[in-house]
């Protein structure tokens, strides 16, 4: 399946793929170590000995090469008149619309990986107790601050 990039959506920073790669590698690391340990210690006498040691690292390497690019291609966001639109998801597709009027407060966060690869996340808090945050990851810090200021202006002009 080929992605059909929506011309209206804006892409996030290419550096975000590296953030995804490192995260994915960290997630796979534990699984790989566990699989190798099981294979070497428990499955030594069985006919499938060696399969896990080969297949799991192979799967890890393939997914680290393939997955981030696909996730990245399907990430997008857009500011329309009074809405923030956030699209993400490779296998499970999510398209979120947040009216500016409903925004309560805004965070720009940067973790260690974000700093390494020059990205930042914008977290939009809306009113409500359930699913009340919308996160746009992989923005450049300047862009994140810019979007924050735009939304904040709208919050101000709305006399709630």
């Amino acid at each position: 399946m080929t992605p059909e990039p929506d011309p209206q959506l804006l892409a996030v920073e290419p550096g975000y793929r590296n953030v995804l790669r490192v995260r994915l590698a960290a997630a796979w690391l534990g699984v790989t170590i566990g699989a190798i340990a099981i294979d070497q210690l428990l499955l030594r006498a069985t006919p499938v000995h060696g399969a896990l040691t080969v297949l799991i690292p192979l799967g890890a390497i393939i997914s680290i090469i393939v997955v981030p690019q696909r996730i990245y291609r399907r990430l997008g966001y857009r500011l329309t008149g009074e809405m923030l639109r956030s699209v993400h998801g490779w296998t499970f597709h999510t398209d979120t619309l947040v009216p500016f009027v409903r925004v309560q407060h805004l965070d720009v966060t940067r973790g260690l990986l974000d700093k390494l690869f020059g990205t930042a996340s914008l977290v939009v808090h809306t009113a409500g107790t359930h699913n009340s945050t919308v996160t746009i990851s992989g923005l450049s810090p300047a862009r994140a601050a810019e979007i924050r200021d735009v939304i904040r202006e709208h919050v101000r002009s709305d006399v709630a």
Binding site: H105, L106, D107, T109, T126, G128, S132, V150, R152, R156
Partner: protein, 394 residues
């Protein structure tokens, strides 16, 4: 795009001694470390225990210092910015228009040092951990200045153009509780949960620990031999059980009174320019302002015993959460109907006539009042009907 008009004030830090006021919470966080130290000490490895103590203390100190060093807040023209995080940085922006209320609270240590904890409640809640902007410790004067600033900004936002002169201390309180009322409220808060817990403990480990209220042995140890009570208990198991029940009831009562006095001591509700201001607390004093425009609903509640004596509790529901886990803001823990009615009239709501259901009142049209309440038939006594009817007039 619109970066040009972003005017943000100078960066401010927390009070250097803020961690003293937060000490209780920080000590709780290190509970695992203390357990390990205690274990080492108990098993005789004193040197390891001392080493671990030094390491844990040093780590706490360094972490606290770094947190303080990396925590900054700025007050801008239209927002408050909070930058926090040692490695994972968060730059939070809270527009004044979205601040539901500003809570100021002071623990016992904070009161000694003049440090207050400020929380900007916005109504968004992404998890209970740090959902909204909180400044752990700034001087009380600065906290009050901040609150006045937020309130003024909200007024400027085109809401209420009233003066804030009604904030003077000599204006009569909208609702206040003297010590007698607080104690009475404590009696009504008689804690069955504590009793149930103690009963369970007494039944399961009480025998081993030697404090089973329901056994004769406990009373033999607790009371000196020779008193008439001990002879009676020795004679009848029933009396021992009765004594046990009385003890549990006393403990439950003491727990209820103690908790209520700690929370509601010097309870005072004031009308401010555009909200209600509530102050209360014995050791931890909290100061909460709730903008009236943000009130979603009023809840008048009561209990079977309270209702019989004509008391009820008034809570207001807003987007913001009250301190602790409770969702609604208690604005009158124990009040007469007349007092509830006078508080409600502050924002132009009528005291709900539905409370007098079955007392030959005309039925209300549904949805006429933004109130949800529950009542008991006992409220319809003849005494209540003779209350002055003007209170419930529109």
């Amino acid at each position: 795009m619109t970066r040009t008009d972003v005017t943000v004030g100078a960066a401010e830090r927390l009070h250097p001694l803020y961690f003293l006021a937060e000490l209780g919470g920080m000590l709780r966080q290190m509970a695992g470390g203390y357990a390990a130290i205690g274990y080492l000490a108990a098993t005789g490895r004193w040197r390891m225990a001392a080493l671990l103590l030094v390491v844990v203390s040093a780590a706490t100190f360094v972490a606290t210092f770094l947190h303080w060093r990396r925590f900054e807040y700025r007050v801008g023209a239209h927002e408050i910015r909070i930058d926090s995080g040692i490695v994972h940085r968060t730059h939070r922006s809270i527009p004044f228009d979205r601040i539901q209320d500003v809570d100021v609270s002071q623990g016992p240590v904070g009161r000694l040092l003049g440090i207050a904890r400020v929380r900007f409640e916005t109504g968004g809640s992404a998890g209970d951990k740090d959902d909204d902007g909180a400044l752990a410790g700034i001087t009380l004067a600065r906290a009050e200045a901040l609150r006045d600033l937020v309130r003024a900004r909200r007024v400027m936002g085109g809401e209420v153009a009233a003066s804030s002169a009604s904030d003077a201390p000599d204006t009569p309180a909208l609702f206040a509780m003297d010590l007698r009322r607080v104690l009475l409220g404590g009696v009504f808060n008689f804690s069955l949960a504590v009793i149930a817990g103690l009963f369970g403990v007494a039944q399961t480990i009480g025998d081993a620990a030697g404090f089973n209220f329901f056994k004769r042995r406990f009373w033999r140890q607790a009371l000196e031999a020779g008193s008439p009570v001990i002879d009676l208990i020795m004679a009848h198991q029933v009396v021992a059980v009765l004594a046990g029940l009385v003890s549990l009831a006393t403990i439950g009562l003491a727990a209820g009174v103690g908790r209520t006095v700690l929370r509601d001591f010097r309870f005072r509700l004031d009308r401010t320019a555009n909200g209600l201001r509530r102050r209360r607390g014995l050791l931890t004093v909290t100061d909460v302002t709730l903008p009236i425009r943000r009130v979603q609903a009023a809840i008048i509640g009561s209990g079977p015993v309270r209702a019989r004596f004509g008391w009820s509790e008034l809570k207001l529901q807003s987007l913001a959460k009250d301190e602790g886990t409770r969702g609604d803001h208690v604005v009158a823990p124990l009040a007469r109907d007349a007092e509830v009615a006078s508080i409600l009239s502050e924002f132009g709501w009528r005291f709900p006539e539905r409370l007098l259901r079955g007392c030959d009142r005309p039925p209300l049209t549904p949805g006429a009042l933004p109130l949800s309440e529950w009542s008991l038939p006992s409220r319809c006594s003849s005494r209540r009907r003779s209350s002055p009817g003007s209170l419930w007039a529109a």
